[in-house]
């Protein structure tokens, strides 16, 4: 029996879209069951959303006050208790999953497969290494539990037509109190979420300043796109860290990616390779971004972006 436990990611009472992507990866294993587990102080709303994901057999919930924030040290012992009934544990490869999954794997005494981009068999997976410059096929010993993080950009979200049952669990391992949540500073934005948006406009060092970044936001709003940035732009303080796209930031796969004033270091390119269409706008015609762009335009972004807005009408 192949049974997969998918750990739901959620924030503020809402299920994160990465969960449905992890379910897609789980479905590719062709298992006998896919159960989603929601850990929260109040899991009901999130569990109801998770229950709709196609392919989910049931949704398990653990409601405890300690689960109000997703602390890996608190979540992991609970997941380990539940994981004994499963052959696979899948977690989205977001900062939530990257923090949590290795802690679960170590407690289970197994290695982890990070960033699964394709499923070749129940124990065989492909994953990127060297910032995506090589793809390895790895095989997990058939007798070990597979703990894997799922590279969200490689998987479309499973649809939401299902109606799986929700089952509350009582697992009561001793939870540590050595780690406490203090606060979360969240960028307030009405723009689409960078990780799920079909269109993304990203700015780089070429944008030049925090003030100048307004032109990127303005253009993104014009076409209904999310806003991203290169590491250089984040390091320079033009935009907050959660906008960073690349090897160590967010890996995204929008239908349309427009890179503005981004030269295209390999660490950035690895974050956007799965995009449908990549457009590069840069004043340097030799910039490496043009090597992978589907459509390139050499020129001054401060002139081109307003022209684009006018041309779109």
């Amino acid at each position: 029996m192949t049974k997969i436990l998918v750990i739901a990611e959620h924030l503020g009472g809402k299920l994160n879209g990465s969960t449905a992507r992890a379910v897609s990866a789980a479905a590719a294993v062709k298992p006998d069951a896919i159960d989603v587990i929601v850990l929260s102080d109040a899991p009901d709303a999130v569990a109801a959303e998770a229950a709709k994901i196609d392919g989910v057999s049931k949704v398990l919930t653990i409601a405890r006050a300690e689960n109000a924030h997703s602390l890996a040290a608190v979540y992991a012992p609970q997941i380990v208790k539940v994981a004994s009934g499963y052959t696979h544990v899948f977690v989205p490869s977001t900062t939530f999953g990257k923090d949590l999954a290795p802690r679960v794997a170590a407690l289970l005494g197994v290695s982890q497969v990070s960033d699964v981009m394709s499923v070749e068999g129940p124990h065989t997976f492909k994953r990127p290494i060297y910032a995506g410059n090589a793809i390895v096929t790895v095989e997990v010993d058939a007798t070990s539990t597979v703990v894997a993080t799922i590279r969200t950009a490689s998987w479309a979200a499973a649809a939401s037509n299902g109606s799986a049952p929700v089952e509350p669990l009582n697992v009561e391992p001793l939870l540590p109190s050595h780690t406490r949540f203090v606060n979360l500073q969240q960028g307030k934005s009405d723009r689409p979420d960078l990780q799920g948006a079909p269109k993304v406009v990203s700015g780089g060092r070429g944008v030049g300043s925090k003030e100048n970044f307004e032109i990127v936001y303005k253009f993104a709003d014009k076409i209904g796109a999310a806003v991203g940035a290169s590491r250089a732009a984040v390091d320079a303080g033009y935009v907050p860290n959660e906008l960073q796209v690349g090897q160590t930031g967010k890996i995204i796969a929008p239908e349309l990616y427009i890179a503005v004033g981004i030269s295209g270091a390999i660490q950035h390119l690895t974050g956007i390779k799965d995009a449908g269409t990549i457009v590069a706008i840069n004043k340097d015609g030799e910039a490496p971004i043009f090597e992978i762009a589907d459509i390139g335009l050499v020129g001054d972004l401060f002139k081109i972006l307003p022209e684009l807005e006018a041309a779109i009408g």
Binding site: A72, R180, V182, I266, I295, E307, A311
Partner: protein, 248 residues
């Protein structure tokens, strides 16, 4: 307080890696090797904590073959007090690395272990979290700010939603993100000084670590290439091209 720092040697981040034609690995012969950039950040943070009087001793730890010594000397030249070289000729998985660190932690009793959030070769992003689990201590991953006071670490973490701050009782495992600090450059006199700093060499086999790896890499391939695109000459042409693709 003592701080242990993980100091891994990897293919330099500027090298464009090539996959061997037979799919058995990547070409590393004659390729420039450097400290994992996140580990340089980890070491820098440890040094700053020592300079602020929070820690007395910074120990860099490397796991790898005999020739890792030169790399560890760089860590000593940057300012670490001493180094531990866990010697093995075999490739080491994150779980084995975490189990190895656990042995060292039991012996050294550090207040902090600082590791890079990921190594830029295998991009696994696991060792710190695994060590914290095995050690049954807090983890503060993807750190962009670290404050140590009153037996606690207050750490700001770069997460997808923004910046999360957590508080954890020492000892703690911290993994570094890019914006925690800017590592210092090594100065020539420090390279000379580093030559007299101690490096303890321990055979991995002597630590009694379970090195079983139940994940096997069976094939390496180059990533699929994106086909060469087209250049347009102005904004109007770009809009037309995007409209044709149904993207605008």
């Amino acid at each position: 307080m003592k701080i242990l720092v993980g100091y891994k040697r990897v293919v330099d981040y500027n090298v464009r890696i090539q996959v061997k034609p037979d799919g058995t690995g990547v070409v590393t012969d004659g390729v420039k090797l450097s400290a994992n950039p996140f580990d340089d950040i980890a070491l820098e943070e440890a040094l700053r904590l020592r300079e602020r009087g929070v820690a007395e001793e910074v120990v860099v730890v490397g796991i790898g073959p005999a020739d890792l010594t030169a790399h560890l000397r760089n860590g000593l030249a940057m300012g670490a007090n001493r180094a531990i070289h866990v010697q093995t000729a075999d490739a080491v998985s994150p779980l084995t690395a975490a189990r190895t660190f656990l042995k060292l932690v039991e012996k050294e009793q550090p207040g902090l272990v600082i590791l890079g959030k990921q190594a830029i070769d295998d991009d696994a992003n696991q060792t710190g979290q695994m060590l914290a689990a095995l050690w049954d201590r807090p983890q503060a991953t993807f750190a962009s700010k670290v404050e140590i006071a009153d037996g606690k670490a207050t750490v700001t973490r770069e997460v997808d939603a923004g910046l999360e701050t957590i508080e954890a009782e020492l000892p703690v495992v911290i993994t570094t993100d890019l914006r925690l600090n800017e590592p210092r450059f090594i100065k020539l006199p420090d390279i000379m000084k580093a030559k007299s700093k101690p490096i303890d060499v321990i055979e991995l086999g002597s630590l009694g670590v379970d090195v079983a790896d139940h994940i096997k890499t069976i094939h390496y391939a180059a990533p699929p290439k994106r086909s060469k695109g087209v250049m347009v000459k102005d904004a109007a042409e770009l809009v037309t091209a995007l409209k044709q693709k149904g993207l605008l």
